[in-house]
């Protein structure tokens, strides 16, 4: 293992976060606060409690998931796309690092950022609504698993993307809609039966549901299924990354 390289890349990527603090930390926190104000206070006051939990508190896990997914993808995809775009990837390719080391360092850095961000949002949320976390261990597990999985997914997008538009394409057209429709702001039990069934095909439902369970002990789907689905997606991403490096797809001629 080339630990010096893993450390160098990881610190390089984290340094980028501190350098772009406004964009990478402050802006997600502000937008989340806005969600609280709009959904939690303005609309929430007109929505009755869901399973005995105030609406403001109910949306907290969903909001964290929303940021976790979008930020993991954007951090990781940008982290690997940018060297490709400006050409500095030559150095990575000519360095004595294995593919595993590259993935660990880039994905590790992107996931670390999202986890930090998720915890900051959680702390911000605690300022607005009284929060309880029934299963803190599970909460952290879902947080870490989701951050890692979607950072891997972002890494794949970053390698696939041929331009900045494509880089935004998947997050904007697929991930954001899936998150909004994935029960971040409502329980899918509130939907008519048909749409409820449709929702079960949305993978984000399982992530939000499992995460919410770790807070309140209530969920739309069984927590075991949530965990299983998260792991399935993680493994799928791992296989895709393994294939990318094996074939040199979009990286090496």
């Amino acid at each position: 293992m080339n630990f010096h390289a893993i450390r160098a890349i990881y610190l390089f990527e984290m340094a980028r976060t501190w350098r772009t603090l406004l964009q990478s930390i402050v802006s997600p926190v502000i937008s989340t606060s806005l969600y609280f104000v709009v959904f939690g206070a303005a609309i929430g006051s007109r929505i009755s409690e869901i399973n005995g939990i105030s609406y403001g508190a109910f949306i907290v896990p969903g909001l964290i998931m929303l940021s976790l997914l979008t930020q993991s993808i954007s951090n990781a995809s940008f982290g690997i796309y940018f060297p490709k775009f400006v050409g500095t990837i030559y150095e990575l390719l000519s360095a004595p690092v294995s593919y595993l080391e590259i993935v660990i360092s880039y994905v590790g850095a992107a996931a670390s950022k999202s986890i930090i961000l998720g915890l900051i949002i959680l702390a911000t949320a605690a300022l607005f609504v009284p929060l309880q976390i029934q299963h803190p261990g599970w909460m952290l597990l879902f947080l870490v698993l989701t951050a890692v999985t979607f950072s891997l997914f972002g890494f794949i997008i970053g390698i696939w993307a041929g331009n900045f538009e494509q880089l935004q394409l998947v997050p904007m057209l697929i991930v954001t809609p899936l998150t909004f429709l994935g029960g971040s702001f409502y329980s899918i039990d509130m939907l008519p039966p048909f749409w409820r069934t449709v929702s079960l095909f949305n993978p984000v439902v399982y992530l939000v549901s499992g995460f919410r369970w770790s807070f309140f002990g209530i969920s739309d789907v069984n927590v075991g299924i949530s965990l299983g689905m998260t792991l399935v997606f993680l493994v799928a991403c791992l296989i895709a990354v393994w294939w990318i490096f094996r074939t040199g797809w979009r990286i090496k001629a």
Binding site: A15, S94, P96
Partner: protein, 311 residues
């Protein structure tokens, strides 16, 4: 000198890109330890592809490369940790400082931090004053130096310089030659590609010429210039000539500069250069000259001849 294992050994290397373009055709090349080797060739000849394969950026289609005895594919860690690469394009991180980016490169190549070494490199490359500057604030020449510093950060034994002085001013070019020479004194093998022949002529020990994906010649530079170098004698005439007298036909002269100059081309290696006979014949024909120069063909002319012969 004891015959040593070459530091780079390329055998039967071919590269065909997915588009079907055949960039390299069965390349065989050995680079000796400690030499400065110049790879010459026109644009698109395959220079960068060859370097990119050796450095691990492009996959070979066929063949094998050993770097200091290590297969570049199978033992890529051992091979790559010995190699530093300065690519042709100025690709740097804009927002990093010089110090951070050079230290990053050292870590990436698996070496523990060594501030003293980084300091030495930056001083050698006149970058020390700029160590805390962001790269985007540097001039093009300075960025080129940063890229060299990055390539040297992990103390490589082999340094590839791909078109090191393309678009670089004269002063920096001379500085860079100095750096390359001092590197060789420390035992580093330098392989540079260029289409500025002057560069090869100034620095290289050996020259390889590549054209259309094939190595067409590898030769000691001095030997190459001796073998292929031709000399010219130019005589500026006192009075203009409309044509050469028939009596001088056997010398193969050319009339230049509107009849004010006679050019005589001869083989510098020959036992007899024919100069004495020429001067005597000129005298006998009453042709008087006011000045004369001799010049040796440069590597550039040799190279142009070589490549154009193949077309």
């Amino acid at each position: 000198m004891i015959a040593m294992q070459p530091i780079i050994s390329v055998s039967n290397l071919s590269k065909t890109y997915a588009s079907g373009f055949s960039a390299l055709k069965n390349i065989n090349l050995d680079i000796s330890r400690g030499e400065i080797f110049a790879l010459l060739g026109p644009n698109g000849a395959g220079k960068t592809t060859l370097i990119s394969i050796i450095c691990g950026i492009v996959n070979p289609t066929e063949g094998m490369v050993l770097a200091d005895g290590h297969d570049i594919v199978r033992d890529y860690r051992d091979a790559r940790s010995r190699i530093g690469l300065v690519p042709q394009e100025l690709t740097t991180d804009a927002f990093e400082t010089v110090w951070a980016t050079v230290s990053f490169s050292r870590g990436l190549f698996g070496k523990p931090a060594n501030p003293a070494h980084i300091e030495k490199i930056l001083k050698d490359l006149s970058l020390w004053e700029k160590k805390d500057s962001k790269i985007m604030t540097l001039s093009g020449g300075m960025k080129r130096r940063v890229m060299i510093a990055k390539a040297l950060s992990h103390e490589p034994q082999i340094l590839f310089l791909d078109e090191p002085t393309a678009g670089v001013d004269v002063e920096l070019r001379r500085d860079m030659w100095e750096v390359v020479r001092s590197l060789r004194e420390t035992g580093v093998t330098v392989i540079l590609t260029t289409h500025y022949i002057e560069e090869a002529e100034q620095m290289a020990d050996r020259v390889g010429v590549i054209s259309k994906g094939e190595i067409i010649l590898v030769e000691e530079k001095a030997e190459l210039m001796r073998k292929l170098g031709r000399k010219q004698l130019k005589l500026q005439l006192q009075s203009q000539l409309d044509s050469l007298p028939p009596a001088l036909a056997s010398h193969g002269l050319e009339l230049a500069d509107g009849g004010h100059e006679i050019v005589y081309t001869y083989d510098a290696q020959g036992e007899r250069t024919g100069i004495t006979a020429l001067l005597k014949d000129l005298n006998d024909n009453g042709i008087r000259f006011k000045d004369l120069q001799t010049s040796q063909s440069s590597l550039e002319e040799i190279f142009v001849n070589l490549v154009s012969e193949r077309r």
